[in-house]
């Protein structure tokens, strides 16, 4: 294979001129406008931006849950029609089913995909163990803390070994310390896999800490305003956040949003 073929094969997810307009009673809402994004196979992308800038909409379009109203999206070179194969999603609310045990909640992914449950039992147990949930598999969600519940929902997303992992502010509802723990765990689990991740967050430091590349969005209409690669060695300890290079990346995001008048955090 030559270089060019290699590069094309490398682009796992491609978004070209994508726009999304929601119809509504008071005129239509332009949630996304001219989004262009190339995501490499195995790349960890953080998307950061103020609320209402269309982050969730973009994620839903990539997940095949909403149709874009202009442009196109391809996954592995194929135009997107409905949810892509081998995808896992995690939302801010863990949406675990209260009447199922943690193990059965994780196995739900296989059931929905139409795979035999029993085949995934061992893998589910391994995932739960890797996320520190060993011994909790027979418990119910309401017996667990918010952090443990969100760990279980990540296990569910990972059960069938997805190539693409979409996460919409998964740690947004957690306290700062639990959030730090989960950042480290997610980075550890992701590293060495070939999983492509789109990770939406409000938090600038979380975005930089996890990402290979940070994509910044702004609103009115929802658009990409900047993106840059994060060149920090992995595995990254939490203390990387106190280093100068990290500070420079964080400052770049902060500066950008200050300029746009939407600084937060």
């Amino acid at each position: 294979m030559n270089m060019i073929a290699n590069r094309i094969a490398d682009t796992y997810l491609q978004v070209r001129g994508a726009g999304k307009t929601y119809p509504s009673k008071h005129g239509s809402v332009v949630a996304l406008s001219d989004i262009n994004l190339d995501v490499r196979l195995g790349q960890f992308n953080s998307i950061v931006g103020p609320s209402g800038c269309g982050k969730s909409t973009l994620l839903k379009c990539i997940a095949g849950l909403e149709n874009i109203t202009s442009g196109n999206i391809t996954v592995s070179g194929k135009p997107l029609i409905g949810p892509p194969d081998r995808m896992g999603v995690v939302f801010q609310r863990d949406v675990l089913l209260d009447w199922r045990t943690i193990l059965d909640n994780v196995l739900l992914q296989a059931e929905f995909l139409g795979h035999p449950r029993e085949q995934y039992r061992d893998r589910a147990m391994q995932l739960l163990e890797r996320f520190g949930l060993k011994g909790y598999e027979k418990r119910h969600p309401w017996e667990l803390s918010g952090g443990m519940r969100q760990r279980a929902s990540i296990c569910r997303a990972l059960l069938c070994d997805p190539d693409l992992l979409l996460m919409d502010e998964p740690f947004g509802a957690l306290d700062a310390m639990t959030r730090d723990d989960l950042n480290v765990e997610l980075a550890r689990i992701w590293q060495g896999t070939n999983k492509t991740v789109i990770f939406i967050t409000h938090s600038i430091s979380e975005a930089v800490f996890l990402a290979d590349r940070v994509v910044m969005m702004s609103r009115g209409p929802g658009r990409i305003v900047d993106m840059f690669d994060v060149d920090l060695p992995r595995p990254r300890p939490l203390s990387v956040r106190e280093t100068d290079p990290f500070g420079v990346y964080a400052q770049r995001i902060r500066h950008h949003f200050a300029e746009l008048g939407v600084l937060h955090e």
């Binding site: 995808m87 949406v95 009447w99």
Partner: protein, 263 residues
């Protein structure tokens, strides 16, 4: 048992409160009747009510069993039919716009007033009684179940769609279990309404049952026997309500255990 223990038990246990209040009221009632001695046609004493029951217990028990079976059968039909209707309403836009709209419209009519119609349609006797009971009980069950089936977290549905869950999986593994708590609150109202319906059915369609006994005793100005029937109806209503409550605790440990503080 020390006094302290009894005091603690009284504070903790609500059912004990209810029992004590009931016993207290009955004693007070007895005392008031003995002191003021009103005519038995106005207010018989509890002891007289008890005596009237003992005079012909089997008549009361037989009629009570009849009312109980009407209530139970009507309740079972209402739950079965109600859940099927609710699932249909949530799954089909057409049923929602027709059947559900009609249900909501009819629900605001005082349905008890329709009871005599059933006698015209179905004649006197058991089938009219049953129809009136179903008509009252099914509304809270359908309406609550529809609300429960709809109140699924939209992100849960997004997750299901993103993993290409089948329609069957969404209804069977998400919507129905999610609706069970609402179904049970509908059932608690429904069981009381089924009993009311059975009694009203007996009032208008006659035949048998405690409602019918109340009516005949009233015709003879036998207030004591009216009260025997009323007490039995009260006991029955309470037992039926708690039966549904116990079913709920067994069926929905995830729901009830969150609601009940563990003391």
């Amino acid at each position: 048992m020390t006094n302290g223990f009894i005091a603690k038990f009284m504070r903790d246990s609500r059912s004990l409160d209810i029992v004590l209040v009931l016993i207290g009221s009955i004693l007070l009632w007895e005392v008031v009747v003995r002191i003021f001695n009103p005519p038995a046609i106005i207010l018989p004493a509890p002891s007289a009510i008890w005596a009237a029951f003992l005079q012909s217990p089997w008549i009361f028990v037989r009629n009570m069993l009849h009312t109980l079976s009407t209530t139970a059968i009507a309740f079972a039909i209402s739950v079965g039919l109600g859940v099927i209707l609710a699932v249909g309403i949530v799954q089909s836009r057409f049923l929602e716009r027709t059947v559900y709209t009609l249900l909501i419209a009819v629900n605001s009519v005082p349905k008890v007033a329709l009871a005599p119609l059933f006698v015209i349609w179905l004649g006197t006797g058991a089938s009219s009684q049953l129809a009136v009971a179903v008509m009252l009980a099914i509304f809270p069950i359908v309406i609550n179940t529809v609300l429960g089936l709809r109140s699924v977290d939209p992100d849960m549905l997004n997750l299901a769609k993103a993993t290409r869950a089948s329609k069957f999986d969404i209804i069977y593994k998400i919507r129905i279990p999610n609706a069970l708590p609402s179904l049970f609150s509908g059932m608690k109202v429904g069981i009381s309404f089924a009993l009311v319906g059975a009694i009203v059915g007996e009032f208008v369609a006659g035949g048998r049952g405690l409602g019918f006994l109340v009516l005949t005793a009233q015709g003879q100005f036998d207030t004591t026997r009216v009260f025997v029937s009323l007490v039995l109806l009260g006991v029955m209503g309470t037992i039926l309500f708690y039966a549904v409550d116990v079913m709920e605790r067994i069926a929905l440990p995830w729901h009830t255990s969150q609601r009940q503080p563990t003391t």
